[in-house]
Amino acid sequence: MSITGAAGEQFAPTGGALVEMAPRPADRGVQARRATWYKQPALMAGLIIMGIVVIAAIAAPLITFYNPIAQNLTDALQGPSAAHWLGTDQFGRDTWTRLIYGARLDLRIAFIAVLFPFVLGTVLGSIAGYFGGWADTVIMRVVDVVVAFPFYVLLIALVFVLGQGARSIYIAITLVGWVSYARLVRAEILVAKRQEYVLAAQSAGLSNTRIMGRHLLPNVISQSIIYGMSDIVQDILAIVTLGYLGLGIPPPAAEWGSMINGGQNFLTTHWELTTIPGIAVILVGLGLSLIGDGLADILRPGE
């Protein structure tokens, strides 16, 4: 929450006595929105949902005493009860336990997986946008090639080649996902580099790297952060999909995708085995989208 922290600080001194230096009304609108970020219903709802999910995931061993992997065939396929809040699956594993351990795994992988394409795409996108010329041509042609493939086809093909496991997921998501950030950042840099402050920085003898890193990126990065929030949703869906297809995290680890897959055979008698992890995916997707919307409102420069 460093963003909101900084916003709070910069809001404070404007109440000072210097009338001449008072910000223009338009600026005050942006600042007011930043200073009262906690009053945004979308952002708050998203933060509450994600807060609960993240806390449950982190505190999983404290919330439940069952082992998410250990089989107990005598308790197989039970309905909800005091002992098993959400029932058990065909191997007698507690669904609630597997659900929160699944959150642990899926969220961790998704949050890590979103960082690599974010960094790679931002760096390549700013190089393409700032320098233009052949660097731009090469990078953007590669982007075009990647974009030409449907997201899931390329992802599944890559994971299939690289083999099961978290490492393959990171690599595949990075290779497929960086293009969106690269396009976004390139477009923003193309606009921003025409601004006079870039000319001013050049006139002050700053190097290109410094101008990109210190002057341009801070001005354009907010769009990437907003996109990153919705990208996490996509990554979670991708991880769950890969798990469902048997390409993700290998069993018996608790993972939402493989839970949905495992419950499929019992859909007519025990629909909750498939439905409950499905609802969990929807909830997390909703929470992250709401946060993304809220952040977009706060980070977007004045209208």
């Binding site: 600080e9 910069q10 001194p13 404007t14 000072g16 210097l18 001449e20 230096m21 008072a22 910000p23 223009r24 600026d27 233009g132 601004q195 006079e196 402050y197 000319l199 001013a200 920085a201 050049q202 006139s203 002050a204 003898g205 700053l206 190097s207 290109n208 410094r210 210190r214 002057h215 801070p218 001005n219």
Partner: protein, 353 residues
């Protein structure tokens, strides 16, 4: 102000010399000859005003001195000699060691020339940290000192503010502080007061003039505002259509023009000493620099133009008093001025009687 005053620098000649500068811009409609053989020099510690209409090539001249021309423009001929060193052949890395410590720029619109997401203190301290190797703390002290010198109240607090929290005048003060931060020897000003209202404009001009006096900085002051030139500059160079029309000491050039274009400029600007009933605009429009007129570029708009003006490209002719004009028939400007003054004294005498 210790390092800035260096009268016995690399050479005792002028601080900055521009010799026969040519700048071309490639556009879809053809090559624009934005600057076409311009020469001038800026003596140490003095201010040169570069005056002309929009599109006369003043800003391009300024940007070629700094080496920050847009990608489609380039210097095709000429020399830009700063303190004995020609800047034209230098690469970006070499220029980056000169921009900042030896020359810096003040822009027209302080809001867009300041990074909106960086605290002003950090923006002022950036140059000293980078070019003079100051530590973060030392650079912050320097920034604080500069903010005091340019007259920003409560600098300790304002250092941590962002540009949008400042008023226009205060932002321009921040720009000046940034321009001064590496103790340069030349500051290029691109209409630094045009975006400000008149009272603030005067404050900023006085501040600039004082700071230059204190630290012996030379100034190039690009503007289309003649009173501003008269206030701050010792020398003036008038540009028209990518060429120099006239240059010389400010008072002489503005009071006794030797070029019909300068005369037109003076007539079309309000004169505070001698208020006329109406301003006289220059008829016509500035020439296209893709296909400039043959001969003198001003001849289609010039009321004194003769046949030879349409063929001969007038060279800069030196005149007594350290002046020069690019007019073949500059005597006609003098005659016209004298006639007008005679008429004025006549009406003044009539009014008195």
């Amino acid at each position: 102000m210790t390092a800035a005053v260096s009268p016995g620098g690399a050479s005792a000649g002028p601080m900055l010399q521009v010799r026969d500068l040519h700048v071309r811009i490639a556009t879809r409609r053809g090559t624009v000859r934005a600057v076409d053989g311009v020469s001038f020099e800026v003596p140490r510690g003095e201010a040169l005003g570069l005056v002309g209409e929009s599109g006369s090539g003043k800003s391009m001249t300024l940007r070629s001195i700094l080496g920050v021309l847009p990608p489609e423009a380039s210097v095709t001929a000429g020399q830009i000699v700063l303190d004995g060193q020609d800047l034209v052949p230098l690469g970006q890395n070499e220029l980056n060691r000169i921009r900042g410590p030896k020359m810096s720029m003040i822009f027209q619109e302080p809001m867009s020339a300041l990074n909106p997401v960086m605290r002003v203190g950090a923006q002022i301290a950036e140059g000293p940290m980078l070019h003079q190797g100051l530590s973060r703390g030392k650079a912050a002290e320097r920034a604080l000192d500069l903010m005091r010198r340019v007259g920003i109240p409560h600098p300790e607090r304002r250092m941590r503010s962002y540009p949008h929290e400042f008023s226009g005048g205060m932002r321009q003060r921040v720009m000046i502080a940034i321009a001064l931060s590496c103790e340069p020897e030349v500051i290029l000003c691109d209409e630094p007061t045009t975006a400000l209202d008149v009272t603030i404009q005067d404050q900023i001009l006085r501040l600039l003039a004082r700071l230059c006096r204190e630290s012996g900085v030379s100034l190039i002051f690009v503007t289309h505002d003649l009173p501003v030139v008269a206030q701050i500059c010792q020398q003036v160079a008038v540009m028209y259509g990518g060429r120099l029309a006239e240059c010389g000491p400010v008072r002489d050039v503005l009071h006794d023009p030797r070029h019909p274009y300068t005369l037109g400029l003076v007539r079309s600007a309000p004169d505070f000493d001698n208020v006329r009933e109406s301003l006289v605009p220059i008829p016509g429009a500035p020439p296209s620099l893709i296909t400039p007129p043959d001969g003198c570029r001003f001849h289609p708009r010039c009321k004194f133009a003769e046949e030879d003006c349409q063929v001969i490209e007038p060279p800069m002719r030196p005149l007594p008093g350290g002046r020069a004009t690019a007019c073949l028939h500059y005597e006609r400007t003098i005659e016209s001025l004298e006639a007008e003054r005679a008429g004025q004294s006549l009406t003044a005498a009539e009014d008195a009687s």
